[in-house]
């Protein structure tokens, strides 16, 4: 890339150089196919998996129901109040990315990033329709003939179909997928869904089919950030210059192992020359390793001229020492410890999750009301989040201070004067009650006294909620 720029007069704009990645076989290519199949398979098929949750609940195993404000994950069901689980997952994803990068370089970019996965899929289609690298170069240079038009139409048609399928699958994560499919077939899908399908279809087609490596090189912030996460012990795809240089013909006895066949350049999906060293546009996909290895085998030289090697390892090999790799370094240990702590915290939060979440909120204005009989009354808004699918009865009483008279708006006491009120928390939703507690003025000593509400339910251990009972300062 840089060599090319040297010979040109300086322009402030980079001329577009189309990349024609050549087909390659080998172990990393097989790994890349495998990861791609798993990622795409999960993305396209996961919304179709059914999961019985009983009547009245969606039966999609994984569903992000934005309108209903629920995330369904098999037997788990998350409410907006539990957004911290999403935060936890995002923190985990970020730290795992840091750890993976510190150990193995940009494997996320090379294998699992949606940009890489869809680009790979689109290039596969392109190769299938138009042929391999040289045929595609020739086709693009050839004049427009019927055969060329046919090939281009077929290619872009398949790309659009894949893009549309991706758009539908994406929306399928957010709405009942079979219903969506049926409605799409009947031309009766909601406009929001159609809009998002159109949006995702166009971005998939644009980014996966047309922009490809331009996204990684010019648009994505990750290459800049991920480079900062690497150190000399991180294994990255690298050309072993100590072995390869000087490049020369196979017959040249003074030349190094690199026979300058350009196989590594031709297979590169971002169109770079890995022999220029580790660089921003390299996504560590290691297809150049496959290409170089097969060439080395052909010419009878050892594999590994391009290898997944750390800078330290490279220097050690250059000095004739065995390469040693230290995966356990302060930064990887730190990442690992933080990852495990976040996992532990999330598991504890998940296990301690109570299907009845009850909060009390003291009325803000006024803090107290003087009522007849020289008494003071405080008001509280009691919110019961009932995550079960049945009505939960709750017996509410005031445990302390003694003598406080309990009243709940629109609810009668269980028996007159017994200070117990039966609340019915509606299933799968939030029920709000306005609760008041009244005490004779003479019984209140302080401006703020703790008040404890006790809630009893047949299915769960009894719950207590502590708040304050406010009173005017005594003169």
């Amino acid at each position: 890339m840089s060599q090319h720029a040297h010979t040109e007069a300086a322009s402030l704009y980079e001329a577009h150089k189309k990349v024609y990645p050549k087909a390659v076989t080998g172990r990393f290519r097989r790994l890349k196919w495998l990861v791609m199949s798993l990622c795409l398979g999960f993305f396209y098929l996961a919304p179709l998996v059914r999961w019985d949750r009983g009547a009245g609940a969606p039966d999609q195993a994984i569903l992000i129901d934005l309108a209903g404000r629920r995330v369904y994950l098999f037997d788990l069901e998350f409410w907006p109040q539990e957004i911290y689980f999403v935060t936890g997952i995002m923190v985990l994803a970020m730290l795992t990315l840091f750890l993976a990068t510190a150990l193995f370089g940009r494997i996320w970019c090379g294998y699992a990033c949606p940009q890489t996965v869809w680009t790979d899929l689109f290039v596969m289609v392109e190769r299938w329709v138009e042929g391999d690298r040289m045929e595609r170069v020739r086709l693009d240079r050839a004049p427009w003939t019927l055969s060329k038009i046919r090939k281009k139409v077929v290619k872009h048609g398949i790309w659009l179909l894949i893009a549309a399928a991706s758009g539908c699958a994406f929306v399928g994560w957010y709405t009942d997928a079979p219903t969506l499919t049926l409605k799409l077939l009947q031309f009766d899908a909601p406009m929001t869904d159609v809009g998002f399908i159109a949006l995702l279809t166009s971005t998939t087609y644009l980014l996966g089919g047309l922009a490809r490596e331009q996204v990684c090189v010019y648009m994505c912030p990750w290459p800049r950030i991920q480079s900062a996460l690497l150190d000399e012990q991180s294994r990255v795809v690298s050309y072993q210059a100590w072995r390869g240089e000087p490049r020369g013909k196979l017959s040249d006895a003074n030349a190094g192992d690199c026979i300058d066949c350009l196989a590594c350049v031709q297979v590169c999906p971002t169109g770079i020359d890995i022999r220029d060293g580790h660089q921003l546009a390299c996504i560590d996909c290691s297809l150049c390793i496959d290409a170089c290895d097969s060439m080395m085998v052909k010419v009878g030289r050892p594999r590994g001229l391009i290898a997944w090697e750390s800078f330290t390892g490279q220097n050690q090999r250059a000095a004739g020492l065995p390469a040693e790799w230290r995966p356990l370094r302060p930064r990887t240990v730190l990442y690992g410890v933080v990852i495990l702590s976040v996992i532990a915290a999330m598991m504890i939060a998940l296990l301690m999750r109570h299907p009845l979440k009850i909060t009390a909120l003291h009325d803000r204005l006024p803090l107290w009301v003087t009522i007849s009989g020289d008494r003071l009354r405080n008001g509280y808004t009691l919110k019961v989040n009932n995550q079960t699918r049945k009505i939960q009865p709750l017996l509410l009483s005031i445990e302390s201070p003694a003598g406080a008279v309990l009243e709940v708006a629109d609810q009668d006491q269980l028996a007159s004067g017994n200070n117990i009120v039966m609340l019915a928390a509606q299933p799968d939703g939030q029920t709000t009650f306005h609760v008041t507690a009244a005490l004779p003025k003479s019984a209140v000593d302080a401006a703020s006294t703790p008040i404890v509400f006790r809630l009893v339910n047949p299915d769960f251990p009894e719950m207590r909620i502590t708040d304050h009972f406010f009173a005017p300062e005594k003169p």
């Binding site: 720029a5 040297h6 006024p366 009522i371 007849s372 008001g379």
Partner: protein
């Protein structure tokens, strides 16, 4: 740009030819399509400036935009839409009587929400945003009512108000100025008598009072005050006379305020809201106030 560009010796990257104090700018060019996205944004901005209000004008005001849109107009439209969608509930509330509305949970919650909104716009200046009241303006959260705390009584009060020109308003009895000879000649009380009756009222509320004066005050109270406030100072809602031993005070229960009240009299007023608001809103206000916590 015509000459052959200079190359940075370390990175091998061409420079732009710009130099500041020996520091040269490297040329790391962007692709042209990115430039086009920049132009597209400029075009969008131009279109936006034409369509929407954008620039202040030196002679005052601003450009209006071809769409003639403002946030205020947007809000007005939203309010209009909301009013249209709420029309069936309003009609239902206007037609139904109070027990029917309260018995229907969805209609009641609509009435409470609508009542709260109307309360904040019309009633909060006197009664407070949370209906907590102020000196001279009753607290509507407590259980002591001047004119009655049942839903019907509250509705009556909201509709016609207190001591105003509306013929249906509560007139009750205005508390006389007991210490003002000019205003209340036949039954004027001396300052000593007022002090005694105030001591009596304080003693009813278990506050420190001169026992001898309170005893004298009891006689004065029985002669002058029981007609409205009742023998046990329990008050009378027909006259709008408050109970005097509940611990809840409209103007204040301290001695100085009580002396002021007895000397100069009291007589709060309230507008007849049926003259100002539509029938459905008045009903919603009554329902809102009734469910605040003091309703009977």
């Amino acid at each position: 740009m015509s000459q052959i560009p200079e190359k940075d010796p370390i990175s091998g990257t061409p420079t732009t030819g710009h130099e500041w104090d020996g520091i040269k700018e490297l040329n790391t060019p962007l692709p042209r399509w990115w430039l086009w996205t920049f132009y597209a944004c400029i075009l969008f901005a131009i279109g936006y400036c034409i369509a929407y209000p954008s620039f202040p004008l030196p002679w005052g005001g601003h450009t209006k935009g071809t769409l003639d849109y403002t946030n205020r107009k947007g809000i007005e439209q939203e309010l209009k839409n909301a009013a249209v969608s709420a029309r069936p509930q309003f009609a239902k509330i206007a037609q139904s009587d109070l027990p029917t509305i309260v018995a229907d949970p969805s209609l009641k919650s609509f009435a409470v929400a609508g009542g709260r909104s109307a309360f904040l716009q019309n009633c909060a200046p006197c009664h407070g945003a949370s209906a907590q009241g102020a000196k001279g303006f009753p607290n509507l959260l407590d259980d002591v009512w001047l004119w009655g705390g049942t839903l019907d009584q509250i509705y009556q009060t909201v509709q016609f108000g207190v001591r105003n020109a509306n013929e249906n308003s509560h007139q009750g009895v205005t508390m006389p100025a007991w210490g003002d000879a000019a205003k209340n000649p036949p039954q004027v009380l001396t300052a000593d008598q007022i002090d005694s009756v105030v001591n009596y009222v304080l003693s009813l509320n278990h506050q420190s009072a001169d026992a001898a004066k309170a005893a004298a005050g009891a006689t004065i109270f029985a002669e002058n005050c029981v007609a409205c406030h009742g023998e046990k100072a329990e008050g009378n809602q027909d006259m709008g006379a408050p109970p005097l031993a509940s611990g809840v005070w409209l103007y204040g229960g301290d001695k100085a305020t009580l002396v002021e009240t007895v000397t100069h009299g009291r007589g709060g007023q309230m507008p007849a809201w049926s003259e100002r608001l539509d029938p459905a809103t008045v009903k919603m206000l009554a329902i809102y106030v009734h469910q605040l916590g003091g309703g009977k």
